[in-house]
C-alpha cells in the first residue's frame, strides 16, 4: 500500500508540483499584503490598543455569539422536527426553510430596519389604530442584538441544510435503540443525535461565523464596529495600512482559533456510526404538538423570507413606474454570466486541489488544500486591494496590455475568496467514498486524469452540482470585490442594489434585490431536489 502510493507519487510528480505552483498563484495577493507589512511604521499598534481594539473585539465577539445562538436555534430545531416527525405542511416547510439564503444579509438588514422603523408599516399601523401600544413599540431597533438576530435569519440555512442531512443519516437505528432503552425523544435528541451530528453542524456554523466576520454593509449601518469595519476605517479613512493589516491578522487569528478549537475538541471524541440503513418511519404527534411543530418551523421561514419578500414586493409596486426594465435585464444577464463562469472555474479548481490531495496523500498537499481556503476568511475588499497592488506592479511590465479592469482580475478575486465555498460540498462527498476505489483504479493503471474522469466525476456528480449552486448564490450576492475590481460600465444586481441603498433610496433598490432573491430561490429549490436524491432523506 505504502509502496504503491510512493510509486504513484513518483509517476505523477508533475501533478503535485503543478498544484503547489497553482496554490502559490492563489495565495499571491495575500503574500503581497504581508510583504507590504514590512514597510509599516511601528507605532500604529499602540494607537489601536489604546483607543479601539477593546471596543472592536467586544462587538465582534458579541455579534458572533448572538448570531451563532439564533442561527443554531433557527437551524437545528426545524431540522430535527422535519427529520423525525410527521405533521401537516412538513414537505412544504422542508423546502422553504432553505430560501432565506437567497437574501443577502445586507438587504435583510436594510429591509428590517425599514420595517421596524418609526415610519415603517408596523409602527405606522399601531400609531393609527392602537396609540397606547404603539408607544411601547417606539424603540431604537438599530441595536447589535437586533442585528445579530437579523443576520441569523439570513444565515441559519447553512445550519439547517447540514443538520437536516445529518439527522436523517444518523437516523432510525439510533433512535430505535435509545427508545428501547427508555430515553424520551428530547433526551434521544440531546444525548445521541446532537453529539453525533456535531461535526456537520459545526461545518455549517463555521460558514455562518465567516459571513458575520466579513459583513460590512449591515454592520456599518447598525453602527457596530467590528474588526472588518475597523480594517476599512484604518485603511481607507486614515490611510493607515499598518493598522489595517494588523486588524486583518487578528481577524485571521480569530478564524483559525475557531477552526482549531473544534478540531481539537473533535479529535478527543471520535464517533463511529453507521448511517441510516432502514428507511425511518416518521414519529406521530398529537394535535397540540403538531401545532407547536408547525409554528416552530414557520418562524424562521416567515421572518427570514416571507416578511422581507412581501416588504420588497410592496416597494417594487410603489416604484413600478420608475423601473428601467432594459437595465434590469442587462444587469440580470451580467450577474448570471459572471457568476456562472466564475462558479464553474471555482468548482474546477476546487476539484483539482481536492483530487490531488486525495490521490497523493502527502502532507504538503493537505497543507495546500487547507491554506487555499484561507481566502474565505479575508474581507473581500482586502483581497481586492491585494490584487490591485500586485497587478499594478505586473502591468507596469507589460505596457501594451493591462490586467487591471479586466474580467480576468475580477474572476481571479472571486476564485480566491470563494474557493472554500465550492470546496466544502465536494470534499465531504469525496471523503464518503472508500479508498478502495482509488486503489483499484491505480492497480488497473489509471492515471490521475482517467481516475478522475472514470470514477470520481460520475460518483460525485451531485456534490459538484451542489457546490456550483452554493457558489453561484454567494457570488451573485457578492459586493466589495465587484465594486472595486469591475471593468468600466459593468454593473451587477448586487452593485445596483447597494448604490441605491447607500444613498438611502431603499424602495428604488427593491426591484434589483427581488431579482437576486428570485434567481436564488429557483436555484435553492433545485438544490433541495438534488439533496433529496443524494441522501435518502426521509
Amino acid at each position: 500500500m505504502e509502496i504503491k502510493n510512493k510509486i504513484f507519487y513518483l509517476e505523477n510528480k508533475r501533478w503535485i508540483i503543478g498544484s503547489i505552483l497553482f496554490a502559490i498563484l492563489l495565495l499571491l495577493p495575500i503574500f503581497t499584503l504581508l510583504y507590504k507589512l514590512i514597510y509599516v511604521e511601528g507605532n500604529s499598534f499602540k494607537y489601536l490598543l489604546e483607543n479601539i481594539l477593546l471596543d472592536y473585539s467586544f462587538n465582534t465577539f458579541y455579534l458572533i455569539l448572538i448570531t451563532a445562538f439564533f442561527s443554531l436555534l433557527f437551524g437545528i430545531i426545524p431540522a430535527w422536527l422535519v427529520s423525525i416527525y410527521k405533521f401537516p405542511g412538513r414537505n412544504f416547510l422542508d423546502i422553504v426553510l432553505y430560501l432565506p439564503l437567497a437574501i443577502p444579509s445586507y438587504i435583510m438588514a436594510f429591509t428590517y430596519s425599514d420595517i421596524l422603523s418609526y415610519t415603517g408599516p408596523i409602527q405606522s399601523f399601531l400609531r393609527e389604530n392602537f396609540y397606547n401600544i404603539s408607544i411601547f413599540f417606539n424603540q431604537d431597533y438599530l441595536q447589535i442584538e437586533v442585528l445579530g438576530i437579523i443576520m441569523a435569519l439570513a444565515l441559519y440555512p447553512y445550519i439547517y441544510t447540514v443538520s437536516r442531512v445529518s439527522f436523517s443519516l444518523v437516523g432510525a437505528n439510533y433512535i430505535n435503540v435509545s427508545k428501547n432503552l427508555g430515553l424520551s425523544s428530547f433526551k434521544t435528541f440531546y444525548k445521541i443525535i446532537l453529539p453525533l451530528s456535531r461535526p456537520a453542524i459545526f461545518s455549517g456554523l463555521f460558514l455562518v461565523l465567516m459571513e458575520v466576520l466579513n459583513e460590512y454593509g449591515a454592520v456599518k449601518y447598525f453602527g457596530v464596529n467590528t474588526y472588518t469595519t475597523g480594517i476599512f476605517r484604518a485603511w481607507f479613512s486614515m490611510g493607515d495600512i499598518g493598522t489595517a493589516i494588523q486588524l486583518s491578522v487578528i481577524l485571521l487569528l480569530v478564524v483559525f482559533s475557531i477552526f482549531y478549537i473544534e478540531k481539537y475538541y473533535h479529535s478527543k471524541t471520535k464517533f463511529y456510526y453507521k448511517t441510516n440503513s432502514t428507511i425511518q418511519s416518521l414519529g406521530k404527534l398529537n394535535r397540540i404538538n403538531k401545532f407547536l411543530a408547525i409554528s416552530l418551523c414557520l418562524i424562521p421561514f416567515l421572518f427570514g423570507f416571507f416578511i422581507p419578500l412581501i416588504f420588497i414586493l410592496n416597494n417594487v409596486f410603489l416604484t413600478f413606474s420608475s423601473i428601467d426594465f432594459k437595465d434590469l435585464l442587462q444587469l440580470t444577464y451580467n450577474t448570471i454570466s459572471i457568476s456562472s463562469i466564475s462558479s464553474f472555474l471555482i468548482i474546477l479548481i476546487a476539484l483539482f486541489f481536492l483530487f490531488i490531495e486525495k490521490i497523493s496523500k502527502t502532507r504538503v498537499n493537505y497543507f495546500i488544500s487547507q491554506s487555499i481556503s484561507m481566502g474565505y476568511a479575508i474581507p473581500g475588499a482586502v483581497i481586492g486591494l491585494g490584487l490591485i497592488i500586485l497587478f499594478a506592479f505586473i502591468d507596469n511590465f507589460f505596457s501594451s496590455f493591462t490586467f487591471l479592469g479586466s474580467f480576468f482580475i475580477l474572476i481571479y478575486a472571486y476564485v480566491i475568496r470563494f474557493l472554500a465555498v465550492g470546496k466544502s460540498p465536494i470534499k465531504s462527498s469525496l471523503e464518503k467514498h472508500p479508498e478502495s476505489y482509488d486503489d483499484t483504479g491505480k492497480n488497473l493503471g489509471l492515471g490521475p486524469l482517467k481516475l478522475l474522469q472514470k470514477i470520481h466525476l460520475p460518483i460525485n456528480k451531485f456534490a459538484l452540482i451542489t457546490a456550483f449552486i452554493v457558489t453561484f448564490i454567494d457570488l451573485m450576492k457578492e459586493l466589495p470585490i465587484t465594486l472595486i475590481l469591475r471593468p468600466f460600465n459593468f454593473d451587477t444586481l448586487a452593485t445596483q442594489t447597494y448604490e441605491f441603498a447607500v444613498e438611502e433610496m431603499i424602495p428604488l433598490s427593491s426591484i434589483y434585490s427581488l431579482m437576486i432573491i428570485l434567481i436564488g430561490s429557483v436555484l435553492l429549490l433545485f438544490l433541495k431536489n438534488i439533496i433529496n436524491k443524494q441522501v435518502n432523506v426521509s
Binding site: Y47, N51, I52, D55, S113, S117, Y118, T119, G120, Q123, S124, N138, D140, L142, K220, Y221, F222, G223, V224, N225, T229, F232, R233, W235, F236, S237, M238, G239, D240, L318, T319, A381, G384, L385, I388, I389, F391, A392, F393, D395, N396, S399, T402, L404, G405, L483, I484, R486, P487, F488, N489, F490, T495, E499, V502, E503, E504, M505, P507, L508
Partner: protein, 342 residues
C-alpha cells in the same frame, strides 16, 4: 460614382485611424457618485457630443488606491468624489493634474474653487442641523459649537464617525478652531448623544419624528429626498422637522459645506474629452439637472436650488479652504476615536 464611394471609404478609414491614434471618442470616469442623476447627465453629454462615457463606481478611497497603483497605465480620465477631502488626498498623492480652462472657470463660484487649480467643484451640500418642530425653539439654536452645550444632553442624533461627511465636519472644526477645541467639542457632543451613532442621515430625521432625540446633524439634500418620498409616513417625518443653518451670525464663519467635485487624472489618456465633460457638467444646463434631481446646491452661481431647497432660505457658507477637509482628516478620526464618537 463607384470611385467617389471608394474615396469616401478610404477617407473614413483614414480618419478613423487618425482618431484612434490621437483622440478616441470616449472618456473614462472613476466615480464615487452613483445617483440616478449622473447617468442622466452622461447620457445627455453623449447625445450632445457623441463622446461615450465609461464609468466605474466605487468608494473614493478604493478608487484612489486603484489610481495610485495603476500609475501611468491608468485608463482613468476623471476622478469624481462627493468629498473635497478625497480630492485633496488625490492631489497629495500626485494623481491629478491642473486644469486651466476659461469656460469651467467662468462656470463656478469663486469661493468653491480649489485654490491650487487641481479640482473643479460640480455641486455642494451643507451639513446642517434639523430640529423637532415640537420640542425645540429655533431661537435656542446658534452654532455647531453650541451643540456641545449641556442644554442638549440626551437630545442630539448623528450617524457614525466612519461616515465621510462627519469626518469632513470634524476636519473643518479642527481647521477653524484647532485640535484642542475640536476635542472638547467632540467630548461635549458625545455627552449629548441621544443614542449611540448609527443608521443613515435619513434615519436620524426619523428618530426625531419618533421622539428618540430632538435635533440631528445631517446633509441638506437628504431632507430634500425625504420631502419628496413616495411614502406618506416618510413625508410626515420630513415635515415634523425644520432646517437650521448653523453659524450664520455676523462674526461667525458660516455653515460647513463640502463639494462634490472632479479632478483630471494625471495620466488621462482622453484629456480633451475629459475637459469637455467638465465644461458640460458645470454648464447651466447640467447644473439645473443636478439641482432638480439630487437636491444639492449648484456650483454654478447662476443656477438656483430646487423649489424644496429654496424654501429653507439662503445661507452663509463657511469660506474655509476646502482642501483642509482632507488635510485634517487623520486628526479628525483620531479625535473621534479618543472621545468615543463611535
Amino acid at each position: 460614382m463607384k470611385n467617389i464611394f471608394y474615396t469616401l471609404i478610404m477617407c473614413s478609414l483614414f480618419l478613423s485611424c487618425d482618431t484612434n491614434e490621437k483622440k478616441s471618442n470616449e472618456v473614462n470616469l472613476y466615480s464615487q457618485r452613483h445617483y440616478s442623476v449622473d447617468k442622466l447627465q452622461y447620457e445627455n453629454f453623449t447625445k450632445l457630443t457623441g463622446i461615450k462615457v465609461n464609468v466605474i463606481k466605487a468608494n473614493a478611497d478604493e478608487l484612489i488606491e486603484r489610481l495610485r497603483n495603476e500609475g501611468e497605465n491608468s485608463p482613468a480620465d476623471l476622478f469624481i468624489t462627493v468629498d473635497a477631502g478625497k480630492l485633496q488626498k488625490a492631489v497629495e498623492l500626485e494623481l491629478l493634474q491642473k486644469v486651466n480652462n476659461n469656460i469651467i472657470d467662468a462656470n463656478i463660484s469663486d469661493d468653491l474653487k480649489d485654490k491650487n487649480g487641481y479640482w473643479v467643484p460640480i455641486t455642494y451640500r451643507a451639513r446642517i442641523v434639523v430640529y423637532s418642530n415640537d420640542r425645540v425653539q429655533k431661537s435656542d439654536l446658534s452654532t455647531y459649537e453650541d451643540l456641545a452645550n449641556e442644554k442638549w444632553k440626551n437630545r442630539i442624533l448623528v450617524r457614525s464617525s466612519s461616515n465621510a461627511y462627519n469626518q469632513a465636519l470634524m476636519s473643518s472644526i479642527v481647521a477653524n478652531l484647532g485640535s484642542d477645541v475640536a476635542s472638547n467639542w467632540s467630548n461635549g457632543i458625545v455627552n449629548n448623544f441621544a443614542r449611540e451613532p448609527k443608521g443613515s442621515d435619513r434615519d436620524q430625521v426619523k428618530a426625531i419624528a419618533a421622539g428618540q432625540g430632538d435635533l440631528a446633524i445631517v446633509n441638506s439634500y437628504y431632507i430634500g429626498l425625504l420631502l419628496s418620498s413616495e411614502k406618506e409616513e416618510e413625508l410626515n417625518a420630513g415635515k415634523s422637522v425644520s432646517v437650521f443653518f448653523p453659524n450664520q451670525g455676523e462674526n461667525q464663519r458660516g455653515s460647513h459645506i463640502n463639494v462634490s467635485g472632479i479632478g483630471l487624472a494625471k495620466n488621462s489618456p482622453n484629456k480633451d474629452n475629459a475637459i469637455k465633460l467638465m465644461e458640460y457638467l458645470t454648464s447651466e444646463d447640467a447644473q439645473n439637472t443636478y439641482v432638480n434631481n439630487s437636491y444639492e446646491y449648484a456650483a454654478n452661481p447662476n443656477v438656483k436650488p430646487s423649489k424644496i431647497v429654496q424654501a429653507w432660505g439662503t445661507f452663509k457658507r463657511d469660506k474655509l479652504d476646502l482642501n483642509s477637509l482632507g488635510k485634517f482628516r487623520k486628526e479628525a478620526i483620531r479625535i473621534f476615536d479618543k472621545t468615543g464618537w463611535k
